[in-house]
């Protein structure tokens, strides 16, 4: 818990909820008759409502992007490094909105919330949602907040895909899109990793075809395995070597399988175990499907430049050299498509050895460039009367 909250933190924040009673038509063909979105805001919306920033979260993220919910909270929101007074996303200058996506498990309508039609948790009956569906639901939230146009839509990883989708789904509602450590679509290898994670959950005896809530259990082992696998893909070989090497927990080999012997095993076990307490198995399945299905170019004969032809947003695209989950080459595909149509785009390829996780970290080169870009955005929207 924080003894004292740092001056450059947004401080204590309280999540808010918005209920929507107009049905949302989803890509899968089904309708979500009503739903709730949980979100947080930081900073003040200006009189012209021109300084709003939307933060889109990644696979396991949520609406709690910055600050603390209470003085008892051990850790701040997941993007505390970038959101706060004087930070890259400066809450003195921007009104920041961060929500939990539909299908999530942190308060927005999802598998672990009650289906009004059955009075039981949705569980596996919650429809599969796509990045396009999320953008649609986010656009509705923007409307209730009085935001006609985002100064910027920003996200890393799966969040970056949402920023990209925003720019082509609502070109006139996005001034800037900041797409970090993302890709225009998943590779076969990415999908393969997701499928192993899903099978780990689906094959857990406690999964009960997704109805585990009624059995008062969770697919613990499956979720742990999925998270362990995920963490391997978030780190680079170098980062793992630097962090753990071949270090043993007890300094000696035990010649057994009972305990984690190497530090890296212990780390993965810890990450897996702590994930079970804060995440839902059905949500994990949904999020990985949203990732797998994302492919905006597929509607334009697999030509990303054509998919982006009507985009008017200005772009900042950022990748990290050691990210092998969504490598720099994948970000350059986005850049290349934008260059084709002479769109406004800058691209940073940050030299970092932390792998995919780098987008959450305080890496000076990354933060400096990002901050410079956001200062430019702030100047632009505040001159814009």
């Amino acid at each position: 818990m924080p003894e004292k909250i740092a001056d450059d933190s947004v401080g204590l924040v309280t999540p808010q909820r918005q209920r929507f009673t107009e049905a949302l038509h989803l890509d899968c063909g089904r309708d979500l008759p009503e739903y709730e979105i949980i979100y947080e805001t930081y900073g003040q919306l200006n009189a012209q409502a021109s300084n709003a920033i939307l933060i889109c979260h990644a696979l396991s993220g949520d609406h709690h992007a910055a600050g603390y919910h209470s003085m008892d909270e051990r850790k701040p929101g997941w993007w505390e490094n970038c959101i706060g007074p004087g930070k890259a996303i400066d809450t003195h200058r921007f009104f920041v909105v961060s929500l939990n996506n539909l299908g999530g498990c942190k308060g927005s309508t999802g598998p672990n919330t009650i289906n009004p039609e059955t009075n039981k948790p949705y569980g596996p009956d919650f429809p599969i949602v796509t990045v396009r569906d999320w953008v649609e639901s986010q656009a509705r939230l923007a409307k209730t907040l009085g935001i006609e146009q985002w100064a910027a839509v920003i996200g890393g990883s799966l969040g970056g895909m949402q920023a990209l989708q925003w720019s082509l789904q609502y070109p006139d509602k996005v001034r800037h899109a900041v797409v970090i450590a993302a890709a225009p679509k998943l590779s076969a290898q990415n999908i393969a990793f997701n499928e192993v994670a899903r099978q780990a959950i689906l094959s857990d005896p406690d999964f009960h075809a997704g109805h585990y809530y009624e059995h008062q259990v969770v697919p613990r082992r499956g979720l742990i395995l999925a998270r362990m696998l995920g963490h391997i893909t978030y780190l680079s070989d170098d980062a793992m070597r630097a962090k753990f090497g071949r270090e043993l927990r007890e300094g000696t080999l035990n010649f057994g399988f009972d305990e984690a012997e190497f530090q890296v095993e212990s780390y993965l076990h810890y990450q897996g175990r702590s994930f079970v307490d804060r995440f839902d198995g059905n949500t994990y399945l949904l999020m990985t499907k949203a990732l797998d299905y994302f492919d905006p170019a597929s509607l334009h004969e697999h030509d990303l430049a054509r998919a982006l032809a009507h985009v008017t947003a200005k772009f900042l695209v950022i990748s990290f050299t050691s990210d092998w989950r969504f490598s720099s080459a994948r970000s350059r595909e986005i850049v290349q498509a934008l260059l084709h149509d002479r769109k406004t785009v800058s691209y940073m390829e940050v030299n970092a050895n932390q792998g995919h996780d780098a987008f959450l970290l305080n890496i000076p080169q990354y933060i400096n460039g990002f901050k410079a870009y956001m200062e430019h955005v702030a100047a632009e929207v505040n001159n814009d009367v």
Binding site: L339, V345, S346, M348, G369, A372
Partner: protein
Amino acid sequence: MMSKLRTDLALLTEWIEPHSHVLDLGCGEGTLLVHLRENSHITGYGLEIDDDNITQCIRAGVNVIQTDLDKGLSDFEADAFDYVVMTQTLQAIRRPDKLLQEILRIGREVIVTLPNFGHWRARLSLALGRMPYSRALPHHWYDTPNIHLCTLDDFEQLCDLLNIEILQRAVADPDHQTSGIMRLLPNLMGEIALYRLKNSVK
């Protein structure tokens, strides 16, 4: 910004048609692109490798793409730009011949500036047994980024070899002043050269 603008950049501005689409290779802090944007209403991008320069470009609102020029320009399509500009960079590239061909593929015209290793002072320095060190060549042999220095005659011979047509040439001193003697004996008297090129077979 104007007063600080290097004179070679001012000269380049004259060569570039307003409202063109320009790629600046090794754009530094984006000085040329800002100048061209404000004075000639051009659009375009800068390519740069240095992190701090990238941040400066972003701050100046210049579109900058972090790129290692030694890795080629395959991200760019043929004739994507009206002009590709490369100031004082070609001599620091691993394979200038390949990069030249590459930039002539992506630009309808190419503007290159480079230091002249054939300048009389460089020749004199070598004749006296030492590597040249001057305002146009301000590095020691051991710390210079310039790994492929050439004389103007060398460069023009390469252009000939690669079917590159020289549309325009200017020679100057490091203050970018030019003179009659420089125009008469460019390979001996010019310290810096600016070339406007196009692919003669395109």
